[in-house]
Amino acid sequence: MAKKLAIIASKGTLDGAYPPFLLASTAAALGFEAKIFFTFYGLQLLKKDMSLKVSPLGNPAMPMPVPVPSIVQIIPGLEAFATWMMQRKLKKKGVASVAELREICLKSDVELIACQMTVDLFDFKNSDFIDGISHGGAATFLEFASEADITLYI
């Protein structure tokens, strides 16, 4: 029987988007049955238009070309600059884009589940999300996770 991977994706940042899609697409390539449950800010990863960002603010471990004090990081445009820099680096190093990994997940039958409670909480519309996803709640995730070989909260 196929191994199973269950992931909770709770982050909606550019850097937070990589682990769930990367691990699930690779798991599918290894023959796993994989499901990702998107909750809270993780729901951004199911949007048609993701426009994900990365912020150095509150993230002291983020490598910067020059040290930028926290007080300066609140300047408008700094987040956009950091995002642009990260995206350029990802491309230069031959790392797949988040959209590409998400597409591979869909094509390799990784089930992408939107947490219905947080969809309602944030008043998101189903038309905001990509096609091919499903909806569910805590029990939906736990049922699958109870049989999973690997369970991750990201």
């Binding site: 031959g94 790392v95 797949a96």
Partner: protein, 77 residues
Amino acid sequence: MSDFDTEIDTSGLNCPLPVLKARKMLNEMSASQRLRLICTDTGALKDIPAFCKMTGNPLLSSEEVEGKLYFIIEKGA
């Protein structure tokens, strides 16, 4: 270097693309056909053997020539 039927060059691509591209190609091949996979991602040195082991596609050879990794993978039954 062993003979092969198909080749993919993933030079310049990083984890997990070599594995994902190998998977896609193997899906299109028939059993006992051989794939030569070329990688520059040094993580592939561990990742490709792990992929082969988990998917039952034997890794026939792996070698490094001038900074590139060459794997020969046989499609399992």
